[in-house]
Symmetry: C2
Subunit: 212 residues, 2 copies
DNA sequence: CAACGACGGTACGGTTGCGTCCCGACGTGT
DNA sequence: ACACGTCGGGACGCAACCGTACCGTCGTTG
């Protein structure tokens, strides 16, 4: 039974959005600076200029805090990504990924959380929802359309295709942290397209995909 | 001036190898269990069944400990890797990488340290020595030989080639942590070879590489 | 066989972070 | 204008860890 509430929270008795935002930003910065392992609520509160209580009123634990905020941050924009050609789609996707991984925060937080996911089931589940699943979806659409156009063989395995698409760029930007030289992305488009089984860049009519 | 030493350390006054080994093993396990961020000397000592003093007598700090042990562990074996064909070399390399990343310890420690390297210059430098440089070397030899054989174009960029070779498999095994299905490695060999610019698997005579 | 001397282990103070409790401040609704 | 009730902030007890100092132990050397 829910007793009639005396009054709805109002006035000063309501969570201030500015504080919530400050906590979110501070969390991202702390996460980038020290990683999830060393992350402390106190440091987040210090950096945000708020009290620990302000945080604990909003999230029940450090894990809750990270999961909610990271998931929200990753729920951002997903590109439409339908340029009409496999190479066009790849180029657009790579540009989006490169842009995202340019963010100093993202390029430090993402590898850190992915590593942490190997030992923390909650983080693992969250990342699979907001990262891997999204990649599978984007990659799936990209591959499916390319197959329908006849650019890729019909028996293309989505799983392996995603590895081939995502792996090299992620390796370079997030792991090796090497610069993106001129023309690298364009070159990568060609390499990945060829690796996926697309015809050479020179337009050469392809036979119909295996029927049945 | 160095006064004549009374006596060389001997007997019980010498570091016991068994203790050193136990510390090494415990460090790897702790590193895998909690990551570098949370790593504590006390936990390593507990797990090794030794005292903290035993650790501090051997290494001056947590960073020293990790750097020395990780570098030593990574200095392991490097495959000869010269099978006579690009695809043979790739297959051998992938099998070696897959084997290494199967080790539960390695697959947890490596991503963790790579993420930590983004914010710790010492770790970054060490990993670049023992990982990246080695990859560049192996990849360089692999590509160079393939170019000499005419399997790859002469203007192949080593940098991008390494990304393409290492990225997909690392992504799948260490980041996405997906299983290695039957035939995956063989399939990956073909994809990467094609991505690098090799001819189709069907032997088709290639014109002589660009002369000069 | 006795003395040497560094070993491993325990104990210690200092620091940091967790999670909670209490308090004065504040803006809205009656 | 007043009462309401949650807000943010500071303080507290508890726990873990760091790095060091001290102490008894042990195997080798002379």
């Amino acid at each position: 039974m829910t007793p009639d509430k005396r009054r709805a929270p109002a006035g000063a008795a309501v969570l201030r959005d500015e504080i919530t935002t400050a906590i979110r930003r501070a969390l991202m910065q702390e996460l980038a600076a020290v990683g999830y392992g060393r992350l402390s609520i106190e440091a987040v509160a210090r950096r945000a200029g708020v009290s620990k209580t302000a945080i604990y009123r909003r999230w029940s634990s450090k894990l809750d805090l990270v999961l909610e905020i990271v998931a929200a941050a990753a729920h951002g924009k997903l590109p439409a990504l339908d340029t009409g050609t496999l190479r066009g789609d790849l180029a657009l996707l790579f540009q989006a990924v490169a842009l995202a991984l340019r963010h100093p925060l993202a390029s430090q937080i993402i590898p850190d959380l992915l590593a942490e996911a190997a030992r923390n089931p909650s983080i693992d589940a969250t990342l699979r929802q907001v990262l891997h699943a999204r990649q599978q979806e984007i990659g799936g659409r990209l591959v499916t359309r390319a197959v329908q156009r006849g650019e890729l063989p019909a028996d293309t395995e989505l799983d392996a295709a995603v590895d081939l698409i995502v792996g090299p760029l992620y390796w370079r930007l997030a792991i090796a942290r090497l610069p993106l030289t001129d023309g690298y992305l364009e070159h990568l488009v060609e390499s990945v397209a060829a690796g996926l089984g697309a015809d050479s860049v020179l337009p050469r009519p392809r036979e119909a995909p295996v029927s049945g």
